[in-house]
C-alpha cells in the first residue's frame, strides 16, 4: 500500500514556483528521505501534506485518505515533527502530550499515560515529564516535538530536519528509536541536511531542487549511479606511466583509482609493487551520498 502519494502538486508564491509539479509515492513501511538545498520546496511539500498549506493543483493523500476531502482521516494517519522548535509555555511536558493526544480524539486513560511514559522513556525525557516546557533545553524541546508527533500513534511519521541542533549522543538515541518505529511498520519520511544520516537510514531517496524532484531511486542505486568506491594512495616519487593510465583522478597528492569491489585492490597493489612504488598512505573510500547529492544538484 502507498503511505504517501502526491500527484503533480503545484504551489506558487507570487512568481516563485515553490512546488512545480511534484509526484512521489512512499510505500508503507519505507524509510524515505527527501533531500535538497534550502528553499527546494521540502517543507512546502510537507506543509501541503499536513494541510497547513493548500496546493494550487494536484492531489495528496496519506494512507489513501485525500488530505482535503478526508482531512480528518489523513491527519490522524500523519505525525509531523516540525522544523522550527515551538512549544506552549503554559504547560509541562506531560500536559503538552496529553493535550496533543486529546486534539486527536484520544481521551485520558491509563493506556494513554503508559504510552506517554514509553515515549518519554524512549526519548530520554522521563525525568523531565513534569517540568514546564520553558525549562527545557533546545534539544529537549525538539524531542518533545517528536513525542507530540507520535502520541496519537500515526502510521506515517514525517520528520522535518529533526536532528538540527541535537547533540551526537541524543541523535543516536533518536535514530535508534525511529528505526524501531520503522521496524514496527511505521512509514518514515525524513528531510535532513546530514546526508550520512539519510544514507545510513533510508532505503529510498528523493532529491528536490527548485520545487521539482530531480532524482528518486533506492539509496543503493543512487550511490552506484553517481558515486564510486575509490582506492587512493600517496606515494614517494612519480607514478609510473602504466599506472597513470589506470588512474581515474588526481586530487592533490592523492592518486585515485576507481574500483568496483575489493577484489580489484590486490591486483592494483601487486602492480605497484612490481613498479617499485613506495606507498606512504593508502585508503579505500566508499560511495557516499554527499557526492551523489552534489552531482545531482549541479546537473
Amino acid at each position: 500500500m502507498v503511505a504517501i502519494e502526491t500527484r503533480d502538486v503545484r504551489k506558487r508564491y507570487g512568481t516563485l514556483d515553490a512546488l512545480a509539479g511534484v509526484s512521489l509515492d512512499v510505500r508503507e513501511g519505507e524509510f524515505f528521505a527527501l533531500l535538497g538545498p534550502n528553499g527546494a520546496g521540502k517543507t512546502t511539500l510537507i506543509s501541503t501534506l499536513a494541510g497547513l498549506t493548500s496546493a494550487d493543483s494536484g492531489g495528496l493523500s496519506v494512507m489513501g485518505f485525500d488530505v482535503v476531502k478526508d482531512y480528518r482521516q489523513a491527519r490522524r494517519s500523519l505525525g509531523i515533527v516540525p522544523q522550527e522548535i515551538v512549544f506552549d509555555p503554559f504547560f509541562s511536558v506531560r500536559e503538552t502530550l496529553r493535550f496533543q493526544a486529546g486534539y486527536f480524539g484520544i481521551s485520558r486513560s491509563a493506556a494513554l499515560d503508559a504510552w506517554i511514559d514509553e515515549l518519554l522513556d524512549n526519548l530520554s525525557l522521563l525525568d523531565k515529564a513534569d517540568k514546564n516546557m520553558r525549562q527545557l533545553s533546545g534539544g529537549m524541546k525538539r524531542r518533545v516535538l517528536v513525542a507530540q508527533a507520535l502520541v496519537h500513534r500515526p502510521p506515517v511519521i514525517v520528520l522535518d530536519e529533526p536532528t538540527a541542533g541535537v547533540d551526537v549522543e541524543l541523535r543516536q538515541t533518536l535514530w535508534a528509536f525511529i528505526r524501531r518505529l520503522n521496524q514496527a511498520g511505521h512509514t518514515i519520511l525524513l528531510t535532513t541536511h546530514y546526508l550520512e544520516e539519510a544514507q545510513q537510514l533510508c532505503s529510498r531517496i528523493a532529491m528536490m531542487k527548485r520545487g521539482a524532484i530531480v532524482a528518486m531511486d533506492t539509496t543503493d542505486h543512487l550511490l552506484n549511479a553517481f558515486s564510486e568506491r575509490v582506492l587512493r594512495v600517496i606515494i614517494s616519487g612519480e607514478l609510473p606511466p602504466p599506472l597513470v593510465a589506470q588512474r581515474t583522478k588526481q586530487s592533490g597528492a592523492w592518486h585515485c583509482f576507481s574500483i568496483n569491489d575489493y577484489a580489484e585492490v590486490e591486483p592494483l597493489l601487486a602492480q605497484m609493487r612490481m613498479q617499485r612504488v613506495a606507498i606512504q598512505k593508502m585508503e579505500v573510500t566508499e560511495p557516499d551520498l554527499e557526492e551523489v547529492f552534489l552531482k545531482v544538484m549541479s546537473r
Partner: protein, 251 residues
C-alpha cells in the same frame, strides 16, 4: 468531541494558570473604578429613581470587565499562538472550524463570568444590589461575553503583531465600552450623543444587563436582546467564515 473538549480545557487552563493576571487584576481594576467614581459622584442623581449611583455603577462595571476580558482571552491566545508558532499544535490535528470557534468562545465566556462574578461579589460588599430578573442578567452576561469572545477571535486572527492587536483594543473596544453607558445613563447626554450611543451594540448589552438588576432601563430590554443577538450572530458568522477559510492560519 474529545478534540473539542481538549481544546476548551486547554483554553481555560491557559488563563487559569495565570489567574493573577487574567482574573484578579481585572477585578482589582474594576474595584478601583468603583471606589473612585462612587466617591467622586456620590450624591449625584442616578439614572433611575430609587437607585443610587453606586448601585447603578456596579452592574455596568461588571459587564465592562466581562466584555474586556472575553475579548482579551480569545485575542491574546490566538496572537500568542500565532507569534510563537505553537498554533501548529492545533492546526495539525483533525479539528474543525466549529471546534475552534466553540472552544475559544466558551473559554472566553468562562473567564468573563469568573471576572464578572468577582466584580459583582466585591460590589455586594459595597452596596445593596437588587436582582429583578436573574434570567436577563445571565442572558446578557452570556451574550456579551460570547460576542466579545468572537470579536477577539477576529482580531486575533487578523493581527500579525501585538501592536495591531493593541490598536484594535484601544481604538475599537475601549471607546465602545467607555461610551456605552457604564458610568452614566445615556439620558444624561446631549441628544446627538444619545443618538450615537444607539449605534453602539455595547450600550444594549449594558442596558439590558442593568435591566436584570433594577427592572428599569434606557430602552426596552427586548430591543437590547434583539440588537445584541443580531450583533453576536453577525460576528460569529464572520469568525466562522474566517476559521473555515483558514484566514492567516493556513496559506
Amino acid at each position: 468531541m474529545i478534540g473539542f473538549q481538549t481544546l476548551l480545557l486547554k483554553e481555560i487552563l491557559r488563563f487559569w494558570k495565570v489567574g493573577f493576571q487574567t482574573v484578579a487584576a481585572p477585578v482589582l481594576t474594576a474595584i478601583l473604578y468603583l471606589l473612585i467614581f462612587s466617591h467622586v459622584m456620590s450624591g449625584t442623581n442616578a439614572a433611575f429613581p430609587g437607585v443610587s449611583y453606586e448601585q447603578f455603577l456596579i452592574p455596568g462595571l461588571a459587564m465592562m470587565s466581562m466584555l474586556q476580558n472575553a475579548f482579551a482571552n480569545t485575542s491574546s491566545s490566538l496572537i500568542q499562538s500565532k507569534i510563537t508558532g505553537n498554533i501548529l499544535f492545533i492546526l495539525l490535528p483533525p479539528l474543525s472550524h466549529w471546534n475552534f470557534y466553540f472552544a475559544y468562545v466558551l473559554a472566553a465566556i468562562v473567564r468573563a463570568l469568573v471576572v464578572g462574578a468577582g466584580v459583582f461579589l466585591v460590589g455586594l460588599v459595597m452596596a445593596h444590589i437588587p436582582v429583578h430578573n436573574g434570567a436577563w442578567i445571565l442572558i446578557f452576561a452570556l451574550l456579551g461575553s460570547a460576542m466579545l469572545g468572537a470579536m477577539g477571535m477576529i482580531a486575533g486572527l487578523w493581527a500579525d503583531k501585538f501592536d495591531q492587536l493593541a490598536a484594535f483594543q484601544n481604538f475599537i473596544i475601549m471607546p465602545l465600552t467607555f461610551l456605552s453607558g457604564v458610568f452614566y445613563s445615556i439620558h444624561s447626554l446631549p441628544s446627538s450623543w444619545q443618538l450615537l450611543s444607539h449605534f453602539n451594540p455595547f450600550f444594549y448589552l449594558i442596558d439590558g444587563f442593568r435591566f436584570g438588576f433594577f427592572g428599569k432601563s434606557d430602552v426596552s430590554v427586548w430591543l437590547s436582546f434583539g440588537v445584541t443577538t443580531f450583533a453576536f450572530l453577525c460576528l460569529s458568522a464572520v469568525t466562522l467564515a474566517l476559521l473555515k477559510s483558514g484566514y492567516k492560519l493556513r496559506q
